[in-house]
Symmetry: C2
Subunit: 450 residues, 2 copies
C-alpha cells in the first residue's frame, strides 16, 4: 500500500533537517501534489515554504490549492506578493479565485498590482459572483468553437489548450453572438472525419446551468443527469464558463457538512478549526438559544408546582417526556430535510408527506405508550399513572412529529433553508410543548383523583 | 426554464388518456431519460410500462436505472423476463448488477435462464462483490491496450467501444499478464503522433484502487486527487474494472444520508419509503432504546425523591440539565464524526482532538453557567441555588463533551462506524449521567443547608 501521511511527514522532516535539498526535491517529485498538501498541513510555515520552493511552480500551485485554509495561514504570511502572482498564474481560474478570496486584503492589493491586467480583470469578474452560485464555482478555461468550424479546427483548439485544461470533456459550440448552441465529446473528435463541420456532429440538446444558480441545485443536476461537466451561461444564453464534476464533489461535501452542522447546532466553518475560542463562539449562540428555551421549560414546571408537590412521581418522567419529544421531532425533521435535499419531496404535495409522518407517529406513539404502560405497571403498580403516561406520551409524540415535519416543509416553501429546522431550536420548542401537554394532562388526572 | 416534473406528468397523462402513442413517443424522444424517470415515478405500473414500450431499448434501460427502487416495484411485476433481459443488455455492467439485485429471486432465475452465457457470468461475478466495495460499484466496460500498442491501435479500440462507454476518460495500458502499468487520457490520442507506442506517452504513476476497498474510501480518493475515473485492480495488480465519478456522487449521497440518519436515530433506507409500517419499524428500535434509557433516568430521579420532595424547585431545572447535556454531547460527537468522515482527524492524535473538545466545553460551560446563574438570581432570588446550578451545569457539560467526543474516537479506533455514536444512544447516556451528577450535587447542597 501507499505510505501514510505520517510516514511522508517523517521522511520530509528528516530531509529538511539534514538540509539535503536535492534528495528532498527528488523525493517530492514522485509524490502527488494532494499528498504533498497533506504533508504540508503537518509542517510549520517555514517548513512549508522550504517544501514549496523545491517544487516547480505548476506543482506548487496545485499543492497550495489543496492545503486547507486553517493550515495555510502561516504559509501565506511568508510568501511574497511576487510568489503569489506566479502561483496564481498556474492555477485554474476557479481555484485562483478561491485562493485570492482567502488572502488578507493588504496582500490582495499588492498581488493585484503585480498581476497582468487581463488575468486580474478575469479574476475580479469571477470573484464578484456569489461564492455558492454556479458563477462562484465555474472555471473560465474551456474550448469553444464557432458553428462553422470543422472537426479539424476543433482538434487544433483542443490541442492548444491541452496544457491548460487537465480533463477536457466537452468541446462547446457557440454562434456568432457567443450563445451556446451545442457540444461534442472529445471522443467525437476521434470518431468523425476531420473535414466534417462540428454543427453536423454536435449534440443540440445541450444541458447548461445559469450563472446565478445555487451550487446545491447545480450539484443536484450533476447527480441527476450523470454528467462530468456542464457549461454555464449568462442571462442571454452566452457561454461564460464551465463546471466540472470534481468541483461538485467539494460542493456536496460542503453541503452535507452544512446540513449535519445544523442538526448539531453549530456551523460547518468550525470543522478543522484549531482555535478553541472560535469553536466555542460558533456553538454558543445555539446553546444559549437552547438554554433560554429550557428556562421556559422551568417556568412551565413552576406553574405546575402544586401537582409536582402532591405527586412527585410525575417529575420522574419529565426526562422521558422531553427526551422522547426531542427524538421524535428530530427524526421527522431530519428525514424530511434529507428528502428535500435529495429532491425526493414534491413541494406541491407537502400535505401528503406530513400525513405520512403523522401516521408513523401514531404507530410509534402507540407502541412506545404500551411499552411504557407495562414498565410503569411493573415498577410502581399504578395503572392510573400508567394510563396517564401512555396517553400523554402519544399526544406528545403526535405533536412533536407534526412540528418536526411541518416546520422544514414550511421553511422550504418560504425559501428559508429547511436544514435550520433540524437544529436545537426545534428540539427545545418540542421540549416546552411536550412538557406543557404532559403536566396539563397530569393536573387534570390529579384533580379527578383528589 | 425547463418544464417541471409536474408539467411533464400532466402532459404524459393527457397523451396516455388520449391514446395518442405517436404524439407521446415524439414527445418522449425530446425528454432526457432522467426526466422521464422522474415522470415515471408519479405514474402507476401500467402507465410506466406504456411509457417504457414507446422508448427504444437503450433509452428505456436508462430510464429504468434512474427510477428509484420504491417507485419501480409495480413496474417490475409487469415486465416479462424477456423484457428484462433485453433492457439489461443495454445497461452498463454496474447498473445492470445493481438492477439485478433489486429483482425478486424468482424473476432473477427466469432472467438468468434467458441471458447469453457470457453476459450472465459477468453479471454474476460483479454481483458477488460487496455492494459497498470498489468491486460493487465498478463497471467492467473499459478500454485497455497492451504496452506494445501504438496510439493508432488505441484510437481503433476507443472507436470500437465508443457506443458502450459514454464518457470515456482514460485508456488503460496493461502488460502481458493483465497487470495495470499505465494510463493515458483521450486527449493524448489526439495530441500525439499515431505511430508512437502508447508506452512512450502513458503516465506510469497511475492511481488505482483495490477491488475490496470500501466505497467511502474510494469516494475520499476521488475527492482528494480530483480524478474523473479510477481503475480497479485485483490482489495481483490486474485490471478488473473502472469506477467513474458519477457513481461516486451516488456513493457520497448515500454515505451522507447514512451519517445523517444515524444522528436522527433511523436508517438511510427509509428515505422515500412509502410504507408507513416500514418507516415505523425502522425508527422504533432507536426509540425503544431511548425509552429504556429514560426509564433509567426516572429510576435515578426516584432515588432522589427525598431531595425533590423537600425542594421541588430542583425538578424545574431537570429539562435544562438533560437538554444541555444532550446538546453538548451531540455537538461534540457530530463534529468529531464529520471530521473523521472528511479525513481531517489523524487517529494517532486522538488525545489532542479530545483535549480541544474539553477546552471548548470548559469555555461554553462557564458561559452558560454564568447566564443561568443570573437568570436564576433574577427569577428566584436564591444565590445558593444559582451557584448549585452553575457548578453542576459546568460539570455536566464537561462530562457530556467528554463522552460525546471520546466514544466516536474509540469506535473509529475499534473499527466500528463512529457515526453510530451520534445517535440517540449517546444522548440518553448523557441524560442519565447528567441527571445523576445534578441530583447528587443537589443532595450534598441540601444536606449542608438543612
Amino acid at each position: 500500500m501507499e505510505p501514510t501521511t505520517q510516514e511522508y511527514v517523517e521522511r520530509v522532516r528528516a530531509l529538511l533537517e539534514a538540509g539535503d535539498s536535492d534528495a528532498l526535491a527528488a523525493f517530492l517529485a514522485e509524490v502527488h501534489p494532494a499528498d504533498i498538501a497533506d504533508v504540508a498541513q503537518e509542517l510549520d510555515g517555514e517548513e512549508q515554504v522550504a517544501v514549496l520552493k523545491l517544487l516547480d511552480t505548476e506543482r506548487a500551485a496545485e499543492v497550495l490549492t489543496e492545503i486547507d485554509r486553517h493550515s495555510g495561514q502561516a504559509l501565506l504570511q511568508l510568501l511574497t506578493a511576487r510568489d503569489v502572482v506566479s502561483l496564481l498564474g498556474e492555477m485554474p481560474s476557479d481555484d485562483a479565485a478561491d485562493f485570492m478570496s482567502t488572502l488578507p486584503p493588504e496582500t490582495t492589493e499588492r498581488v493585484e498590482a503585480l498581476m497582468p491586467e487581463a488575468e486580474r480583470e478575469q479574476l475580479q469578474e469571477l470573484m464578484e459572483f456569489d461564492e455558492e452560485s454556479a458563477g462562484g464555482i465555474m472555471a473560465v478555461e474551456y474550448v469553444a468553437v464557432p458553428e462553422a468550424a470543422t472537426i479539424r479546427d476543433a482538434i487544433h483548439m483542443a490541442r492548444d489548450r491541452a496544457d491548460d485544461i487537465e480533463d477536457l470533456q466537452k468541446i462547446f459550440v457557440v454562434d456568432g453572438t457567443g450563445v451556446l448552441v451545442g457540444d461534442l465529446g472529445v471522443l467525437d473528435l476521434i470518431v468523425n472525419s476531420r473535414s466534417l463541420p462540428v454543427s453536423e456532429v454536435m449534440n443540440r440538446n445541450v444541458l447548461s446551468v445559469p450563472v446565478d444558480m445555487d451550487q446545491e441545485e447545480v450539484a443536484m443536476l450533476f447527480g441527476k443527469y450523470d454528467v462530468l461537466t456542464l457549461p454555464v451561461i449568462d442571462a442571454l444564453g452566452r457561454l461564460v464558463g464551465r463546471i466540472t464534476v470534481d468541483d461538485i464533489i467539494d460542493v456536496m461535501e460542503e453541503e452535507a457538512s452544512e446540513d449535519i452542522a445544523y442538526i448539531a447546532g453549530t456551523s460547518e466553518e468550525e470543522l478543522g478549526e484549531p482555535s478553541v475560542f472560535k469553536v466555542s463562539r460558533t456553538r454558543l449562540p445555539w446553546l444559549i438559544t437552547g438554554l433560554v428555551g429550557q428556562i421556559c421549560a422551568a417556568l412551565v414546571m413552576s406553574r405546575h408546582e402544586a401537582s409536582l408537590r402532591t405527586y412527585v412521581v410525575l417529575a420522574f418522567f419529565v426526562p422521558l417526556i422531553v427526551g422522547t419529544a426531542g427524538a421524535i421531532g428530530i427524526q421527522a425533521a431530519v428525514v424530511v430535510v434529507r428528502e428535500i435535499a435529495l429532491g425526493q419531496i414534491d413541494i406541491k404535495r407537502m400535505g401528503r408527506r406530513l400525513m405520512k409522518e403523522l401516521q408513523v407517529a401514531a404507530l410509534n406513539g402507540m407502541a412506545l405508550g404500551v411499552v411504557l404502560f407495562f414498565i410503569v405497571l411493573a415498577w410502581l403498580h399504578e395503572p392510573g399513572l400508567g394510563l396517564l403516561l401512555w396517553s400523554s406520551l402519544m399526544i406528545v409524540i403526535f405533536v412533536a412529529a407534526f412540528i418536526g415535519a411541518s416546520v422544514p416543509l414550511l421553511f422550504q416553501r418560504w425559501r428559508i433553508d429547511p436544514a435550520i429546522a433540524t437544529g436545537p431550536f426545534i428540539a427545545v420548542v418540542n421540549d416546552v410543548i411536550g412538557l406543557t401537554i404532559y403536566l396539563s394532562m397530569a393536573r387534570a388526572y390529579l384533580s379527578r383523583l383528589l
